[in-house]
């Protein structure tokens, strides 16, 4: 049969984000694939060099659109490491609560988002509506629904009131009851079993060769999670499990995302119970807009919902960063993984592959 060239293009109902893949198809099977990134490119690394250390906090949540808090957390951790600052304990607990709520929100959107490629349109309606209830909490805490600008170098911007903590606990209790319904709708559905079991497999050797972190490697039996291996903030004082499974295909990866939601709820409840009283922010020396950070280079990273997310920051003692390189968590699988892993899948499973591998276009396009 003749080979046909197709664009799994930027505007596609099953595609999350503005990212296109050029496919060469023989009948129904993909023969070769080439990623075409760059449609969301804004030149962040150059823009960050032109704004002062504090002004960058307003800019960087926009690098990863579905989960913006990790950007602020990694940037603040890097700046604090360069400047040698130690933040108060209460600020660390609040940062953990904010990061884990962000993790719950993006897992709800991904588990619901399987409805796009497969056609089960009830799932996105539920997932996005449940996520919206948590966006209300962020609006009360920080003032903006999506881009919070809450975690700053030195701590967090303001304290979290006690009745907001009670509201978080109530919403977590409601979510726990809803998770049973998600399991019945998505994971016990016979058509989803036929569609997702065995699709988009990721063998262990390929996952190790590509250097994938996060769900891709935990679904192959390794329990590599930066919160356990290289703990940051107060994760070494909280107890939680890291779900792992043995075989990696689309169904098991989606199941792992679903199993991480109760663990995040456990972390948030412990953090609310153990949080000490005190200040939440230390004052920066002198005028914050004219603050100069000492010379040095640091690679700070944390565990996002898709893998290892890091910033490599270099300072030369000036008013602005000298160089910041953003390492998006889905860089290996979005670019090299598409070229090496897509050939052999069927055409209708390309959207499922891209969705369950966790390809998020804005973070590698920057």
């Amino acid at each position: 049969m003749k080979e046909v060239k197709l664009f799994h293009g930027p505007n596609h109902p099953g595609m999350h984000g503005n990212f296109s893949v050029h496919l060469t198809v023989d009948g129904d099977t993909v023969v070769s694939a080439r990623p075409n990134p760059g449609m969301l490119h804004r030149g962040f690394e150059k823009l960050m060099e032109r704004r002062s250390w504090i002004q960058n906090i307003a800019l960087i949540p926009r690098i990863c659109v579905p989960e913006p808090d990790i950007n602020e957390a990694v940037y603040s951790m890097g700046v604090e490491a360069l400047a040698g600052m130690e933040i108060p304990e209460r600020a660390k607990y609040i940062r953990v609560i904010v990061l884990e709520i962000a993790r719950i929100m993006i897992h709800l959107m991904s588990v619901g988002g399987i409805g796009g490629p497969t056609g089960l349109y009830t799932a996105p309606n539920w997932g996005i509506a449940d996520r919206d209830l948590f966006l209300d909490i962020f609006e009360k805490l920080t003032g903006h629904r999506i881009y919070h600008m809450y975690i700053v170098p030195g701590g967090v911007r303001q304290d979290i009131p006690a009745d907001l903590l009670k509201e978080i606990e109530e919403k977590l209790d409601n979510l726990e009851k809803r998770l049973v319904e998600y399991r019945e709708l998505i994971f016990d559905h016979p058509i989803i079993h036929k569609r997702l079991k065995g699709t988009a497999p990721l063998p262990k050797e390929l996952a190790l060769a590509w250097g994938i972190t996060g769900i891709g490697i935990r679904s192959n039996g390794f329990d590599y999670d930066i919160r356990k291996y290289d703990p940051y903030l107060v994760y070494d004082k909280l107890s939680f499990d890291v779900p792992v499974c043995d075989e990696s295909d689309a169904y098991s990866r989606l199941m792992l995302k679903f199993r991480e939601i109760p663990q995040s709820m456990r972390i948030i409840r412990q953090a609310i119970a153990d949080m000490p009283a005190g200040k939440v922010r230390i004052k920066l020396p002198g005028n914050a807009l004219k603050w100069k950070v000492p010379k040095g280079a640091v690679y700070s990273r944390l565990e996002s919902s898709r893998g290892e997310y890091g910033y490599y920051m270099v300072s030369d003692g000036g008013l602005t960063p000298y160089r910041v390189h953003v390492r998006g968590a889905s860089y290996p699988q979005g670019l090299y993984g598409v070229e090496a892993g897509l050939p052999g899948t069927r055409l209708e499973d390309v959207a499922v592959w891209l969705d369950t591998m966790g390809v998020c276009a804005p973070e590698f396009d920057r």
Partner: protein, 172 residues
């Protein structure tokens, strides 16, 4: 302790002294090597179990007239992170590709080639566009490229009736 054993081993094998090795934090080490030694050092690290290539990045030190290439590698078993830096001259930026050691390095090196102009030998896609399309100026992340002038000249902005102070300038 595992970290000290590791440092002693690489000091012995590659003749590096303490000026080249810094302990940045617990379990994080920074090593500086010559550009001629870099490939041998990186292959050695892959053989002793540094299987994850986290990041390849480049820094443009325009005042000292060289580029710095930084390879960040992680070993899960030893639980160590090593950043290997090497310097190449700015007038002729060339380096050997490591994509036969870590396959994902293909896209990291293509990225650096597009934004800095560094050429990696043994790489099939040097000079071809990846993120930018129809770009004919100098590589954009170099320090002598001004993005604001380019943007205002090529993409006209909206005219307003009032004057804007300090537009696009870092407050000195």
């Amino acid at each position: 302790m595992l970290q000290n054993e590791f440092i002693a081993k690489i000091e012995q094998e590659f003749g590096l002294d303490s000026a080249h090795i810094t302990i940045v934090a617990e379990k994080k080490i920074a090593v500086t090597v010559d550009s001629g030694q870099a490939l041998a050092f990186l292959s050695y690290l892959k053989n002793i179990d540094f299987i994850q290539m986290s990041l390849i990045t480049a820094v443009d030190w325009i005042a000292e007239n060289h580029f710095e290439l930084v390879y960040t590698l992680v070993s899960w078993e030893k639980n160590l992170t090593v950043s290997v830096s090497t310097f190449i001259p700015r007038s002729e930026p060339r380096m050997v590709s490591v994509r036969h050691i870590w396959p994902t390095a293909k896209y990291y090196e293509w990225d650096i080639n597009e934004f800095f102009g560094i050429v990696f030998s043994g790489h099939p896609e040097m000079g071809k566009p990846l993120f930018l399309e129809g770009w004919s100026e100098k590589p954009p992340l170099r320090k002598d490229f001004d993005p604001q002038a380019y943007s205002y000249e090529r993409f006209p902005s909206r005219e307003y009736d009032y004057e804007v102070e300090n537009k696009g300038r870092v407050v000195e």
